[in-house]
Symmetry: C2
Subunit: 254 residues, 2 copies
């Protein structure tokens, strides 16, 4: 299956350290070599990098490692194809616009016999179960509201839609509109909250340590969410199956 | 004003040579230093690179120069901000999905008092006249057709929409859905068709020559469209004000 990585912060932060370990899972330390992608929000704008090559030898991944883009919401994905062939249109994350904002989605799992009706507002371009699920979520939200509703109502509806789709199979996903990041666990998803006092962290996938105390301010808060823990000297919290968490400003708010 | 570059081919082709000269206009040989972007279709998939920094010293532009992505439809843009501040959400090209395909749009010009009604299907994320025009075009197409119509009907409607919007000001643009590339001229737009027998070409913006005969096959056809000619030893055709051309497989078909 695929691997997911997300970051949600209260101040623009680069993801270079986490990505350093994560991208190695795309063909080097693990078998997820069917493409990859990463999306960075900058306010309402969004940079989306996708590639149908393994992340470990992708020139795009080299750029992401060398160019420390700062963002408050990041979603990355390394693909092991289950449905849909290996081509660019099937690379996660996927992007659409809803209510005048970009929305980004990436999925790890496999939805069986999942064929939602053709949407009025959103239609898949590729042929993955993942993009079908993303379009179905946005379609249902857009059908229900002409404008962005309040966060309570949105979260409640998102939880209901998620439960419906998750009945088709494994549905670990991350979804962000640049203001928050929602993460849902079917099988594997962990998160860690980093805030003052910051400590050193050491990567699982590479012999690399960073001392966050050196590169942060006391006000910073960063939540990192991943399929499997990225560091081996910190305590990661595992999400329960069926759990949907909304991260905002670097903390879980729902 | 901004600068546009487009390429439409009958076989996947890299744009490295044209981009080499073009990207220098973003802060080096010309004054268009308010961001830039480029979109490459690969079949139905699309890579979109945008940056709010000048193209001439952008790490993303270095990647595009060093990583010869092959595509049959490319649209690039260097921005000189007229409306909307310099930020990522205002960087061209813009991307949306319509009828299960991605559509890419970039604009050079300035539309005065152009405030189309809020769309049902498409809404701008940033605050440029350009993204408003793109959303208005897609909105009108989507309102009229539930599925992709035939090309005659589409082109006719696009021409009508273009004329309406162009009444607000300067509206040079390029639009592609990965199957064709439409280019509209208000003031400045030139194209060149390269096909067998291929010749050498020399850049205006840099002392660089390429011999296309060495890197092409006799079957290849490539149309390059740009705000101003990129080479100084080839004959570029200038579009007339108000002219809309549809390029497909490397030739103008309408």
């Amino acid at each position: 299956m695929c691997q997911l990585l997300g970051m949600n912060c209260n101040t623009p932060t680069d993801i270079v350290f986490s990505f350093e370990g994560f991208h190695r899972r795309g063909g080097l330390t693990d078998h997820h070599a069917d493409g990859w992608g990463i999306a960075f929000f900058e306010d309402r704008g969004c940079r989306l990098f996708i590639d149908d090559r393994p992340s470990v030898d992708s020139p795009l991944a080299k750029l992401v490692r060398d160019y420390p883009l700062k963002s408050m919401n990041v979603i990355a994905h390394i693909r092991k194809a289950t449905q849909g062939e290996v081509r660019l249109a099937n690379a996660h994350p996927f992007m659409r616009e809803l209510w005048g904002r970009y929305w980004i989605f990436a999925h790890n799992g496999d939805l069986k016999d999942y064929r939602p009706a053709t949407g009025q507002y959103y239609r898949p371009v590729g042929d993955t179960d993942s993009e079908r699920a993303f379009c179905a979520i946005l379609e249902a939200l857009r059908q229900r509201w002409d404008e962005m509703p309040d966060e309570d109502a949105l979260f409640e509806t998102l939880a209901r839609l998620t439960a419906e789709i998750a009945s088709h199979g494994v549905f670990n996903f991350m979804l962000s509109n640049g203001a928050f990041l929602a993460a849902h666990c079917s099988t594997n998803l962990y998160y860690i909250l980093r805030q003052s006092p910051f400590n050193k962290a050491h990567l699982v996938d590479d012999d690399l340590t960073v001392d966050f105390a050196q590169i942060t301010t006391p006000h910073d808060r960063v939540a990192v969410i991943a399929t499997l823990p990225l560091t081996d000297n910190e305590i990661w919290t595992q999400l329960s199956p069926g759990q949907l968490i909304l991260f905002k400003d670097g903390i879980p708010v729902r």
